[in-house]
């Protein structure tokens, strides 16, 4: 079976990024999964071994001091070295900001084709086919690359399959990096520790708030309802622009696409760009003071009312049902 490279993203504290398990699972369906990791010398040997538990048969560990000072150049160099050594049929990266860029730069460097934002991948006779969900799930497109290896960016949270645990064979190399032509990272502030809330992508329930929440302080109401339901927190672009929540919470055309069992929209008008990110939710509930708000056109249940009156009652009722208040 041919090798399939997976770029492992690591957090500033050195831990393995959330996409690794999904990517290694996807790679195991296409060939022999090889985890590729760029890390500071001596920092990642234990990590490399643990990647076997996520399904990596081999780990290609590329060590360089510049991993925290040069933007993605070490990751691209690691992938390129692994590419030359292992002649893979495919390279999988997360469709994250960093994953996409490392994947794109590698594709040019080694002359591979590029398929972006895949929600599924499969091997078919002599080719690899990716499925894409386009325009907020309105279309499904299947694509492949002809004439050479392929770099595929896989949408985070899109694939459930996981690979069997392996005892990974670790191979380390030292990267010699030329810093010219590279962007320099001058400082890095990690995100505040992740909350206990589920990740927006892939969450079964999402509670989103819009401009109707009026302020950052009052947006807490959205979080309270989310916590009562064990849900992830989302937002409209207007709420993000107003600074109520970070951009990573934005649902929609230029934000995250979600497809939960239940989506609750609080104080969101339902602009077409917002709907493009949530219209495939199984059940949509909207609470809005304006009975003519477009969100009601796609809502399964709608409440015309003030979120500051309705939501506290809702939280109360949920609490009583689950016997926690």
């Amino acid at each position: 079976m041919s090798n399939v490279l997976v770029l492992i993203e690591t957090a500033p504290d050195g831990s393995v990024g959330a996409s690794a398990a999904m990517l290694l699972g996807a790679a195991s369906r296409l060939g022999t999964p090889v985890a590729v990791l760029a890390a500071a010398p001596g920092s990642a040997a234990a990590l490399a071994e643990s990647l076997g538990s996520l399904g990596a048969e081999r780990v290609y560990l590329a060590e360089t001091d510049s991993v925290s000072s040069l933007l993605l150049t070490p990751q691209v160099a690691a992938l390129a070295a692994a590419f030359t050594a292992l002649e893979p049929s495919a390279i999988l990266v997360a469709n994250s900001i960093d994953g996409r860029e490392a994947g794109a730069r590698l594709a040019v460097r080694v002359g591979a084709g590029l398929l972006v934002d895949a929600v599924d991948v499969r091997a078919e006779a002599d080719r690899i086919v990716a499925s894409h969900s386009v325009f907020g799930g309105s279309y499904t497109v299947e694509s492949t690359v002809e004439g050479g290896p392929v770099v595929i960016t896989v949408r985070q949270g899109a694939m459930d399959g996981r690979a069997e645990a392996k005892v990974a064979v670790v191979e380390s190399i030292t990267l010699d990096i030329d810093a010219t032509g590279s962007t320099v990272i001058e400082s890095m502030r990690p995100l505040p520790a992740a909350s206990d809330r589920p990740d927006l992508r892939g969450a079964a329930t999402v509670v989103s708030g819009g401009r109707g929440l009026q302020s950052k302080e009052k947006f807490v109401l959205v979080e309270q309802l989310a916590d009562a339901l064990g849900a992830a927190v989302g937002a409209s672009r207007a709420a993000v622009d107003a600074g109520y929540v970070p951009q990573t919470s934005q649902v929609g055309q230029t934000g995250v696409t979600v497809s939960p069992q239940l989506y609750i929209a609080l104080g969101i008008s339902g602009a077409i760009q917002h709907r493009a990110g949530m219209q495939t939710a199984k059940t949509i509930v909207a609470i809005n003071t304006d009975a003519d708000a477009p969100i009601f056109e796609i809502a399964d249940f709608g409440i015309v009312g003030d979120v500051f009156t309705v939501v506290p009652q809702l939280i109360d009722a949920i609490g009583k049902r689950s016997g926690t208040s």
């Binding site: 469709n95 994250s96 590029l114 325009f135 299947e142 590279s182 962007t183 320099v184 001058e186 990573t248």
Partner: protein, 229 residues
């Protein structure tokens, strides 16, 4: 300083966007074509620098004939000139080819700084700036939430799923901007009048030479289906 802004014509996000079920390509008749909002922000970053510095701003697009309207708008906003890569052979070009063509055009045109949107609202690849930077062999500072341009460098804040970083690159470089950067200015009446006299250069593939030829490795759409309403 010569700043080239990459602008793409996209279907208006306020309308229904459609794919052609036979080719998997964008159905360009499906909705009104506009300059992508994110590329207006990219142009704004260039114009804001030009407001108080000596700079030439060029809008560059690869797109069908109708893209010339969008170039006019870029000129009305304040770009000095525009380049339109127009060639019927490019219909349905994939990301790899698009990047080769744009990189070849940039090399021919000359540049100190290339500014793009982080991600288009139709293809949503979010990779074109990276592909172009790699072809050109210059630094890429992407997904910038803020942009500080100096005579010989570019700096900004970049947020990923893992945190926020401050980055810097020497020029020449390619950067891309996010929705967090400033909203674009509106063209005023004077701008619209002036735009009519500004030069728009049209290049075909033949003008760009061998570097712009399709690569032997290409992505192919196998099937397109629509979700039942």
């Amino acid at each position: 300083m010569k700043i080239v802004v990459l602008v793409k014509q996209v279907p208006d996000t306020w309308g229904a966007r459609r794919l052609n079920l036979d080719t998997g390509w964008l159905d360009r008749g499906g909705s009104e074509a506009v300059i992508d909002e994110i590329d207006e922000r990219a142009l704004e970053a260039a114009l804001a620098y030009q407001d108080s510095n000596d700079a030439e701003v060029v809008a560059l697009t690869m797109g069908p004939d109708s893209a010339k309207d969008m170039l006019r708008k870029s000129l009305a906003m304040g770009a000095d000139s525009a380049v339109h890569i127009l060639d019927s052979r490019l219909a349905g070009a994939d990301l790899a080819w698009t990047a080769r063509v744009i990189a070849a055009a940039l090399t021919k045109l000359g540049y100190d700084l290339v500014i793009a949107g982080n991600e288009s609202t139709d293809g949503r690849g979010g990779v074109l700036p990276a592909l172009v930077a790699e072809h050109l062999g210059v630094p890429l500072a992407s997904y910038l939430d803020s942009v500080a341009i100096t005579a010989d460098s570019i700096a900004g804040e970049r947020s990923t799923e893992l945190g926020t970083m401050s980055v810097r690159a020497p020029l020449p470089a390619v950067i891309s901007v996010t929705e967090r950067t400033a909203e674009a200015r509106f063209p005023n009446f004077k701008g619209i009048l002036r735009a009519k006299k500004k030069p728009v250069t049209v290049w075909s593939l033949d003008d760009l030479g061998a570097d712009a030829a399709a690569s032997p490795v290409r992505s192919v759409v196998l099937a397109t289906s629509e979700r039942p309403a």
